[in-house]
Symmetry: C2
Subunit: 355 residues, 2 copies
């Protein structure tokens, strides 16, 4: 079996994460790391990892065929382009870059050089996402008309470069890109028609420390994505509404349940007291017309991401996280910032879908 | 003490509710009811309530000074106007009418005749609303930046006239008007800048069976209002976010809690596993920087509504549910339908605030 030699560029939090996993995989060999911070290179050496002397040294190493770019977001573009021009395949950490214009330049280089160019959307393999997706695909709830996807923290914007606009900080570009990629991947063949978004600046002026976005797909599906960092009580991770039932997935541990109605015709509604009034419309259902089901938990095989990267490079397989999807996601992120800035609904057109 | 003679016009669900309560109040006397349905008049007689022979007979009864209009929504306007022209004071059930143009005609008649003209926004006295409001006013969470107000049922659109557009059916005009009035009353001196809304038609084509709306106030507050009828698992009734804490009120029984951070400076975040990745940003807080408080439940004195009606009529007091507020709420409802129809953000201007 061919083993692919990899260098991780940017040996911070995610860079360390990649090196650990690359060392575990038989198909890949960690050739070394490079970082602009000499202290990080020292850490690498202490861990028995080769520290390259410069980015140029990495590019010049003909034994290396794959780079993982895990730097600040604002330098993904020049590093990815330089790598591909030097004949390397590239995995970029997310977000792949900060604008569609920049991404188009990167895709053009990938097409011209024929190198692999992809982004590490690892959360397509998150168990909570896969569990949600299976419920949708198995049609467990009937026609799905709304999905709400939330990640809520309570620590404000992180204190590192993620609060700096120049480096591509903020929650839209950090957690947002994951949740938006999940939405777009679930609806891969369903055109996105419009987005309405607003961002928050509770703990930070420079970058958004949270955002809310309402997506409308051509099928009629409404999909709400929220990432927030000032929430001391959390709402569920997933809330899924179908014509005949609802599912809640509370957290990453997959607590939650599904409730399905099995008899729409049976009327068991008697008015109940609600505040100062009465309501028949909002009377909770009794057990005779609904049943509750536990979640069928779906396991996520994250290694499929690197397996696919290997198969693309060695066997010419089809890339899972592909250019069209990468472009769609960055286009959506651009639209979110425009929507929030103008307080307007942004409609998608060919500009956003051209690949 | 002067006792005010009242006739309830429309002896359906809410009409019956008003007659029961009027009979309990010393300041008011139930003179009788009128309904276009003879069967309902028979029910009234069986209960020992005088059934008037016609609406004209009610108007001609000089002993009657207050009418409660509890009919279909589409006939509130002619009935209220006829009543005021005949010298009667008027409480209309909500929604007071279906458009700002119609409401302006009604307000003009009220101003010309000098009669009381108000709408029964009883849910301003709901305990859950008052409990939320006290948390906001006591500044328990620091600056409030977002409020989410949800009422979720699972029975679809009701089977009666509430699913008929001609009678002013649908959830925006039914439960929506309550939740929107609550929002606008909480923010009575905070101009509404914009609204984005969409409506659902899951169980009904003619009228909306649910809606989502995102309000932006001039202060910066974002306020989300949702009424839905196809949700088999419920999210909390209230979700309130402040700079230093969050409150959840789960239901009308006031289950819930507040969590407040008392030490922003202390960093206790260690990365946790979340799906296929790790996160420091979303690590839950540990007990050392936050504390949890039970809800301080506020009791609602709904009778204050009728007490105020009495004081306005007898003592010239200031009307609690006033014309400006009524107009603002109907203007918002109009804007919600326009926003949903066009999939656009609607901005408010003088047209919506003129009274």
């Amino acid at each position: 079996m061919d083993v692919i030699n990899v260098v991780v560029v940017g040996y911070g939090g995610m860079g360390g994460w990649h090196t650990d996993r690359i060392r575990d995989m038989e198909k890949f060999n960690l050739a070394g790391v490079w970082d602009i911070d000499p202290a990080r290179l020292e850490v690498a050496k202490e861990r028995g990892i080769r520290a390259y002397g410069s980015f140029e040294e990495v590019l010049a190493d003909d034994s290396v065929s794959l780079l993982v770019i895990a730097t600040w977001n604002d330098v993904h573009k020049p590093l990815c382009i330089a790598a591909m021009e030097a004949g390397k395949n590239v995995i970029s950490e997310k977000p792949v870059t900060l604008s569609v214009v920049d991404l188009d330049e990167m895709i053009a280089v990938a097409n011209r050089t024929g190198r692999l160019f992809t982004v590490h959307q690892n959360r397509r393999w998150d168990r909570d996402y896969l569990t949600m997706r299976q419920i949708v695909r198995q049609n467990l709830l009937g026609g799905i008309f709304r999905i709400e996807s939330r990640v809520q923290g309570s620590r404000g914007i992180p204190g590192d470069w993620r609060k700096e606009k120049g480096h591509g900080g903020g929650m839209v570009l950090d957690w947002g890109v994951h949740l938006l990629d999940q939405a777009l991947t679930l609806c891969d063949d369903d055109p996105l028609e419009s987005v309405y978004a607003h961002v928050t600046h509770i703990t930070n002026d420079e970058c958004d420390d949270g955002f809310y976005t309402e997506l409308q797909f051509k099928s009629g599906l409404r999909y709400m994505v929220e990432v927030t960092t000032n929430n001391f009580i959390e709402l569920p991770r997933w809330y899924i509404l179908g014509e005949n039932g609802s599912t809640v997935i509370d957290n990453w541990d997959l607590d939650g349940k599904t409730v399905v109605v099995h008899d729409w015709s049976k009327i068991d509604s008697v008015p109940v007291k609600a505040g100062t009034g009465i309501t028949k419309t909002m009377t909770p259902r009794t057990a005779e017309t609904i049943h509750e089901e536990p979640l069928e938990k779906v396991h996520g095989e994250w290694v499929q991401y690197y397996d696919n990267v290997y198969d693309v490079i060695v066997n010419g397989a089809t890339q899972i996280v592909n250019h069209r999807q990468m472009r769609r996601c960055i286009a959506l992120i651009e639209a979110i910032f425009v929507s929030a800035e103008r307080n307007e609904v942004i409609r998608f057109d060919d500009r956003f879908y051209r690949t």
